[in-house]
């Protein structure tokens, strides 16, 4: 499946498409908890009904069933909303999947505040934080449909548990077919010398926009896409800190526990420089149109610009 730069496609759609595209691998089994139309696993189900299992509204059971399938050699995708995958089923993910390091891929859709109208109960802003605490868990948060497709492929090729984070909102495709994806590697999208913006997920296009706004006021910003939150690419962070002397992180997640925390941990231990975090500031979300919410909660280019100026001022 090819995506054209500039098209608007939700990463969850790319997830379903990728499962169908790579689903000819007979080892793949896909589970869902009554949300296949929303998580887009229905796209896989249509093509491979014999390897699709609906567990019903029982996310804890789904994670342990996935573990059982994985012990028998299957590559299992277990899908539901991020809130229920990382939240409700945390302990099943930790004990049934993480502890035995089983080959289960958690396809978590509807992450973040851009879920919109459903409101706070369904806007998961904690998932990266809790998943990051599980030893051996790999966490992928693709920025667009093209990267989501590559992340699914990489997760299939990797043996072990992976948490994949997808969104509901249609977002612009920013990567063309030459884009290379590798688990554990950040990608420098734009060079700069005064500050580095490290962004993940749907904040990546905002980071690129912020760079342009900063350029207008004479600030040169580097932009890094950090699709793998764990294991985090320490090398690219340290290099950016040393070369630009200031860091801003941007994520559609609580500033506690997510990308901002992961980057801060690397920076304070290796090369302390001024740093600012863009994300929701330890609050729950609320109902509204995704674009309005993203703006209200400061998940936009304007806020990244403000934080970049603050970080630079502290140099």
């Amino acid at each position: 499946m090819k995506y054209n730069v500039g098209d608007k496609v939700a990463t969850r759609v790319a997830y379903g498409n990728a499962l169908a595209e790579f689903g000819d691998n007979q080892n793949i089994v896909v589970l869902d908890a009554d949300l296949s139309g929303s998580t887009k696993t229905a796209t896989f189900k249509k093509q491979y009904p014999d390897r699709f299992i609906n567990v019903g509204i029982a996310e804890g059971n789904m994670m342990s069933v996935a573990a059982g399938l994985a012990t028998c050699g299957k590559t299992v995708f277990a899908s539901t909303f991020a809130m229920f995958a990382a939240g409700r089923a945390f302990e099943q993910v930790r004990n049934s999947i993480g502890y035995p390091h089983l080959n289960v891929k958690i396809g978590a859709t509807h992450a973040g505040i851009s879920v919109g109208e459903d409101g706070a109960t369904h806007q998961c802003l904690e998932d990266i934080g809790v998943m990051r605490t599980i030893p051996g868990m790999t966490i992928l948060n693709p920025a667009d449909a093209a990267e989501a497709r590559l992340a699914v492929k990489a997760a299939i090729d990797y043996k072990g548990p992976v948490y994949l984070r997808f969104g509901r909102l249609d977002v612009p495709v920013i990567f063309d077919e030459d884009y290379k994806f590798e688990i554990g590697k950040g990608v420098e999208l734009k060079d700069g010398t005064d500050v580095t913006i490290i962004a993940t997920g749907i904040m990546v296009p905002e980071a690129i926009k912020a760079r342009e706004m900063l350029a207008e006021i004479g600030v040169s910003a580097r932009v890094i896409n950090m699709a793998t939150i764990k294991p985090i690419d320490e090398e690219i962070i340290i290099k950016a800190a040393k070369e630009t002397g200031a860091i801003v992180t941007a994520e559609e997640h609580n500033i506690i526990g997510g990308l901002g925390s992961a980057v801060a941990e690397v920076i304070v231990e290796n090369c302390p420089v001024p740093m600012q975090r863009v994300g929701t500031r330890d609050v729950f979300g609320k109902s509204g149109k995704p674009v309005d919410l993203l703006k209200e909660y400061g998940l936009d280019a304007e806020t990244i610009v403000e934080k970049a100026k603050e970080a630079i001022a502290k140099k």
Partner: protein, 282 residues
Amino acid sequence: MNAEKLKELRLHANNVRKMALEAVYSASSGHPGGSMSVADILTYLYMEEMNVNPSEPDAKDRDRFVLSKGHCTPALYAVLAERGFISKDDIKTFRHKDSYLQGHPDMKHTPGVDMSTGSLGQGISAACGMAKCAKIDGADYRVYTVLGDGECEEGQVWEAAMFAAHYELDNLTAFVDFNGLQIDGDIREVIDPTPFDKKFEAFGWNVIKIDAHNFEEIEKAVEEAKQVKGKPTAIIASSVKGKNVSFMENKAEWHGSAPNKEQYEQAIAELDEIAKEIGGVE
């Protein structure tokens, strides 16, 4: 079941109980009560029923076992030692730092352990995944799991029960080790999970009630389960917590505490006496 086979199984079960106690005594920690109640079921499965091979513990077509009541790992390690998966000498390293015999079953480090368990309710779900996998692959292995009676207070058990019936997992057999006691006391007083038979029936399972310490009844139930088509089978096995150790029988306080030296020696003496009665000391 002929008399010779019965005697053999009873001796194996007695060895399993002795080793389970040795494990708990050596660790000064662990769960002897439920290990004693489940010993005969595990003995029957590993010594008589399941298609497993200690020299090839990961064989693709083997039968699977998941100890959903993962805290009774002393009995699981004991039966794995009795069957030859692990060394009997290693039993005394149970729960010691750097031992491969972790406090709860650990599939990554212990040969013969098919699933890491310990957090209640999750093992039966994993067993469902294994049984569903056999259905997807058209494989004919069977999957066994043992639930604690107290464990059935976990909601996930019933999510799994729904799943197994919905997907007609007739290759799955779940025992309920119905010893009537959980950590805080009588299960009916803590929060009553009974009646197990009516509940599993209502969830669409084939249900058989047996005496957990009668090998002929265990055999009959396991054989019946293999004949049932389109339904998983729940074997509600009435058991005695602490079975065959006089001072542990039907005492909730032996759920998770280790015997001291005097108690351990008395327990072993009692079990040796039973071995003599059965008619053969190893």
